[in-house]
């Protein structure tokens, strides 16, 4: 996939080099795929990658423009067309899975956003944040209008944080290790067992509880598969 993409940028005369980002298109797509797989398989919403999304979008428009200039019936054109379609699928699928998680866990996502310290990066992009807020308001208005306002006075509100299920962080995920990790705590020490620690070799694959390796997913040391 990456080959055809870099070829597309050759067509454009290497304009990518003017961007501040030093990523080659191939690296860009590799990053997108990584973010996509992680997002797809992790039970909770991961940090947003809006810069990456923007870059890919730019790249797509770029390729589309280049395609316009290509002679009709050229074999190259259909290969690039296919390439664009594939990248657009990955991008849409990535954004879709984020949106689905936002909708599924909206009170928790917003709560997390609220309790975030000022300096920390936000988990939601500004657009996603706006969407989540609207979704919450919309749903609350709806429940109120249909049923809650007709209920006895002490039962007219629902705590959304309690009513909507939380992401299940204890679910198991498959992962591949990209950087060697020592002493990952799988089970803490209890009365009747010693603590259980594993080393993760680079390139090895594991099936583990998401909670134990969540920080490694965030730092990019492991890849969910």
């Amino acid at each position: 996939m990456a080959d055809a993409l870099s070829e597309a940028s050759d067509l454009s005369g290497g304009e990518e080099s003017q961007e501040e980002d030093v990523l080659t298109p191939a690296e860009l797509i590799a990053r997108l795929e990584e973010a996509w797989l992680n997002e797809k398989f992790s039970p909770e919403l991961l940090e947003n990658k809006s810069e990456l999304v923007e870059c890919v979008m730019e790249q797509l428009t770029h390729m589309e423009e280049n395609l316009q200039r290509v002679r009709k019936g050229d074999l190259k054109a259909s290969i690039h067309r296919m390439e664009i379609d594939r990248i657009r699928f990955v991008l849409s699928s990535y954004l879709r899975s984020r949106l689905q998680k936002i909708e599924k866990f909206f009170p928790h996502v917003l709560e997390k956003e609220k309790s975030r310290a000022d300096g920390d990066p936000s988990f939601l992009s500004p657009e996603e944040f706006a969407f989540a807020k609207e979704y919450l308001a919309n749903t609350e208005v709806y429940l109120k209008a249909v049923a809650l306002k007709h209920m006895p006075p002490n039962l007219q509100s629902i705590d959304m944080l309690k009513a909507v299920p939380q992401p299940c962080l204890d679910s198991f995920v498959f992962l591949r290790v990209k950087e060697r990790q020592d002493n990952i705590l799988v089970e803490p020490e209890t009365d009747d067992q010693r603590e259980y620690v594993v080393d993760l070799e680079e390139g090895s694959q594991h099936l583990m509880r998401y909670r134990t390796i969540a920080p490694l997913v965030a730092s990019g040391a492991v890849q969910l598969i």
């Binding site: 379609d85 594939r86 699928f89």
Partner: protein, 196 residues
């Protein structure tokens, strides 16, 4: 028994297979709300009695009624919320205009919610990337080939494809079209993907 209607309401949804939207059970909701009202009023008078006359033996009954109230509330909320999730799925399946048969099964407030949801989603998609945004309700399946063979299931009229050619989508005619142009029409049931 209390709460029976509420449980029945939830069961009604459970019985439907995935994604199907039964008619909004306004009658059921009204009955449950009436039951709640009655329970609440009984509780109010009992609470007063317990307070003024010190009848502590009334307290378990009051607690029981209150649990019933909470259970009713929860069942109604679950019923309504589950319906919203189904309606949400419809937006992704049919696009922003719903078939009348389905609209018929929704109550006015649900239609309102749907319109709001539609708007939020559209705003979100427009704000993605470049000027035009990105329609993420497209490209639902990984692309396998550029062009696909489709058959028209109903008359749809003229249809323009990227290079400017206009084709007539007539019932039972078969075409070889760019996949990205027909995905929506396939989901709406106008076209059918012919797999040979």
């Amino acid at each position: 028994m209390f709460c029976e209607k509420a449980v029945e309401l939830v069961r009604e949804l459970q019985r439907m297979s995935d994604g199907q939207l039964p008619a909004f059970n306004e009658d059921g909701i009204r009955q449950i709300l009436e039951e709640m009202k009655a329970l609440y009023e009984q509780n109010q008078s009992d609470v007063n009695e317990a307070k003024t006359e010190g009848k502590t033996e009334l307290i378990p009954t009051i607690k029981f009624r209150h649990s019933c109230l909470l259970r009713n509330q929860r069942c109604i909320a679950a019923y309504l919320y589950d319906r919203l999730l189904r309606i949400r799925a419809l937006r992704w399946e049919y696009g922003s205009v719903l078939p009348t048969a389905i609209r018929f099964h929704m109550c006015a407030e649900e239609l309102e919610w749907f319109n709001q949801y539609k708007k939020s989603l559209a705003t979100y998609m427009r704000s993605l990337g470049g000027e035009e945004g990105l329609d993420i309700t497209q490209d639902m399946k990984p692309p396998k080939s550029l062009y696909i063979e489709v058959r028209c299931l109903k008359d749809h009229g003229e249809f323009e494809i990227d290079d400017g050619t206009v084709i007539l989508l007539k019932k039972n005619s078969q075409h070889f079209l760019p996949r990205w142009k027909c995905e929506q029409l396939i989901r709406q049931g106008v076209l059918e993907h012919v797999i040979s």
